[in-house]
């Protein structure tokens, strides 16, 4: 239990985060982007847990709970938005929603 070095845990979090990040950048499908964001959030939560376990303090876990809450809220709002976009544009292509083009 104690023998797992913190670096390894953090490295895992980092790798997961990177994978999520890559996916956000390459995907056009907006649902995939949402999924990737979930991966990233999860990775961040993992980093908190790793740190919390290293210090044997509850704070890391509490942060994870907050991230979890936030992820839940985010995903519900995000999905609602996706539905809207799909209804408006009849596509899941995020590039089509470029109304903010300057």
């Amino acid at each position: 239990m104690t023998s797992i070095p913190m670096e390894t845990g953090l490295l895992l979090a980092g790798v997961l985060f990177m994978l999520g990040l890559i996916s956000v950048m390459i995907r056009r499908n907006i649902i995939f982007m949402l999924i990737s964001v979930e991966i990233m959030l999860n990775a961040a939560g993992l980093a908190f847990i790793v740190a919390g376990s290293h210090w044997a303090q509850p704070d890391g876990q509490i942060m994870f709970i907050f991230i979890l809450t936030m992820a839940a809220a985010e995903v519900s709002v995000g999905l609602a938005l996706i539905l809207q976009i799909y209804h408006q544009l009849k596509t899941l292509n995020s590039d089509a929603a470029n109304f903010m083009k300057g």
Binding site: F64, A72, Q84, Q88, K90
Partner: protein
């Protein structure tokens, strides 16, 4: 225990790679569930069983289910998978992957050069009681804020999820009349 950790970590990474390379959304989501579950195992090895449970219930359970519901509502077909395939050209991977690896490299470098302070306590097991006490003790404000956030999320989701006839902003309408087509439908 160590071995468990490494196996779980490997599974998590592999599952995540699978998530991000799938063309079919449902497949990707299944891999995502695998990824979440393996992360939950990692949590267990880290001495956070309560969090592992939450991970399974909320992430692998609620969130993924939510996404699946939505995908079902959109009634996607094989064309969409083909479309996804067309979008996901190999050459697209290069830039983002490079950027991310640079970032990862820097992160690793930072981890390597950092002098890790030794853990003060040998046993790093933190039980649910300690978490609950901290949560409703010093973090009570955070809990309340989370409640508000969830409330806002519910309201927002409800509001956004409603079907409306026409929601294109008047500025956009004036400036980009070609977007009318989507609004007209």
């Amino acid at each position: 225990m160590e071995l468990t950790f490494y196996i779980a970590a490997t599974v998590a990474v592999l599952a995540t790679i699978m998530v991000i390379t799938r063309y079919n959304m449902i497949h990707a989501l299944l891999y995502l569930v695998v990824s979440f579950l393996s992360v939950a195992v990692v949590f267990l090895t880290m001495g956070a069983p309560f969090m592992a449970a939450l991970e399974v219930i909320v992430y692998a359970g609620a969130i993924v289910v939510l996404i699946i519901f939505v995908i079902m509502m959109l009634s996607l077909t094989r064309e969409d998978v083909e479309q996804e395939k067309a979008w996901l050209q190999p050459k697209l991977w290069m830039g983002p992957a490079l950027l991310s690896f640079v970032l990862l490299a820097e992160l690793v470098y930072l981890l390597v050069i950092a002098e890790m302070p030794a853990a003060p306590v040998a046993g790093s097991y933190v039980n649910a009681k300690a978490v609950g006490l901290a949560l409703y003790g010093p973090y009570i404000l955070g809990v309340q804020l989370s409640g508000i956030l969830l409330m806002a999320g519910i309201v927002g989701a409800y509001h956004l999820g409603r079907q409306k006839k026409k929601v294109i902003h008047r500025f956009l309408q004036q400036q980009e009349p070609q977007k009318e087509r989507s609004a007209a439908i």
